[in-house]
């Protein structure tokens, strides 16, 4: 037996533990607004993801529909069939609750995919512009300036119109969702590129970047492995707020009839359809999708606002 002191093994906290101990989670626990928005957003997102399990009917399966069930008011039995629907049915007898769940899937899918596309494109171009400077920088940033001259919804409409023109007529409905993602994503990359470029310019001058360069790491490795992890928090904030805006943009485009087709209705398409029944008194076809859209956009937006304040050290 040697009398070497017993060294307690260093405890490496698990990822979960570290996340729960972080400042961010502490701030989260103390903000009722953040908790409520997070819960609402989580419920909505989960119910969209598990829509096939939750929804009483599949609104895209014609065999489950009964035209006799058309225009059933919420929580009241249908006059002909006696069926009751939680949120009523639309003109074709589709359960509004189910169409909302499935519609939210499309809205959220387009929203997430469009923001992801914008983030990846924005980070890529922003890193290039910030790290290399020179003509790449001027070219990318001039393009950003030109695009910023116009409101992004207008840019998205235009891209949608052009892409629709390029796709063959018979594929247009199937391609519409992807075209929508492309249009919203392309209309949104500028702000990510600008923020990433600015942050990259700051990080580029720091010692760890010089050190990485000195040991001979290649520019792309430096950008992706060294600089990128250090500039992600502003990107995360903008991405969250962008998600709310992308959901609204998708709804707006679909409402205007230049988005998700009637065969794959998103929340915006449902509102567009519901507007037609506003005058005949079937308010529920419009009302519930509109409320869902609002709850979704508001909760994500407030979460983004909170995140911005929580991650901004100047406000502490």
């Amino acid at each position: 037996m040697t009398d070497r002191p017993i060294v307690a093994p260093e405890v490496v906290p698990s990822r979960m533990r570290r996340a729960l101990d972080s400042d961010l989670f502490y701030a989260f626990k103390r903000s009722p607004v953040a908790i409520v928005s997070a819960v609402v957003a989580a419920i909505l997102i989960l119910s969209a993801v598990f829509a096939p399990l939750i929804a009483p009917t599949n609104p895209f399966d014609p065999s489950s529909l009964n035209l006799m069930n058309g225009f059933t008011p919420p929580m009241a039995p249908n006059a002909f069939t006696g069926d009751t629907f939680l949120l009523g049915t639309d003109d074709q007898g589709r359960d509004v609750f189910s169409t909302i769940l499935y519609g939210m899937r499309i809205s959220l899918f387009v929203g997430f995919a469009a923001v992801l596309f914008a983030v990846v494109l924005g980070i890529f171009l922003g890193l290039l512009a910030g790290y290399f400077g020179g003509w790449a920088d001027s070219f990318i940033m001039r393009a950003a300036d030109v695009q910023l001259t116009f409101p992004s919804i207008l840019v998205a409409m235009l891209i949608f119109g052009i892409a629709k023109g390029i796709t063959p007529v018979e594929n247009r409905d199937q391609m519409a969702i992807w075209v929508l993602i492309l249009a919203i994503g392309l209309s949104d990359w500028v702000q990510f590129a600008r923020v990433v470029r600015g942050a990259t310019l700051v990080e580029k001058g720091k010692d760890y970047v010089s050190a990485a360069r000195l040991i001979g790491r290649r520019p792309y490795a430096i950008m992706l492995r060294h600089i990128l992890p250090n500039i992600l928090s502003p990107v995360l904030v903008i991405a969250t707020i962008s998600l709310a805006l992308a959901i609204i943009a998708e709804a707006t485009l679909s409402f205007l009839g230049v988005g998700a087709p009637a065969t794959q209705p998103s929340l915006g398409t449902l509102i567009r359809v519901g507007q037609g029944f506003l005058f005949s008194g079937e308010w529920w076809i419009l009302f519930f999708p509109a409320c869902t859209l609002l709850a979704l956009a508001l909760s994500v937006n407030m979460l983004g606002d909170w995140l911005r304040d929580a991650l901004n050290p100047r406000l502490k």
Partner: protein
Amino acid sequence: MLPFILKRVFQSLLVLIITGAIAFSMFTFVGDPIDNMLGQERTMEDVERLRAQLGLDQPIPVQYVKFLGEAVQGNFGVSYRQGREVSEIIKERAPATLELAALSAVFAIVVGIALGVFTAIRRDGFVANFIMSSSLIGVSLPTFLIGILLIYLFSVELGWLPSFGRGEVVRVGWWSTGFLTETGLKALILPSITLGLYQMTLIMRLVRSEMLEVLRQDYIRFARARGLSERVINFRHALKNTMVPVITVIGLQLGAIIAFAIITETVFQWPGLGLLFINAIQFVDIPVMAAYLMMISVMFVVINLLVDILYAFIDPRLRVSAK
């Protein structure tokens, strides 16, 4: 000053040349205009004749230069869908959008400034707080939902105002106006509130924060010490000094109003340029899309340029840094 303006003018021209190229490539690469204009029953001679007539048999750079020349004269060819001159259609639709946009801008500016001043002066009052918190909801509501909500309240439930169209219009020369008839005026109310609401809240919040900033300054305290009435202090001294940023925002938002008219016009089936553009996208009517794109880019570029120049006149620091 001159180098600054020249630089801005150059940038604006660049934007226009790029949007021109986009508009032109829409013509060249999106769909085949011959397919769009001739139906199923056509002969090869028809196709060749139309191709030559439209100048599509010439090399692309030649077509681009010709396109720019025509575009400068406001000539965008014939709508695929309506078979009429695009410039003709635009001339017919423009008054509806411009009247709507003008009224929304007036609404946004007048109500926005009034509410902004009010909420700043009564910053702790119940009504002011209520206005401020409801403005937050107003900003987060998508425009089309606001329109539907207003239609539901004032057209469906109360039946006071029409829910679509322009009402009766009076023709003054080529201009058609809704300002001269009762139905025309009534039809303008809901759409212009819908369109102007976002800008109204924006102006209101800006005026409020600027006012609060200014009211804290020494010269306001001094004015109060001199015994000037609240009215003179608030409006003559304070409001005047909040106007610089407000004017800038108003200028930049004018373009946004015309662009967002697309949404409002669709909700209210308002027969203006926005509805024309949306229908053009739905039916891939390239000449109309291109014409709208060019028109709106000229407008945005001119507005941005004017605001920049105005800003440089007001704020001398910008002039120095531009050199």
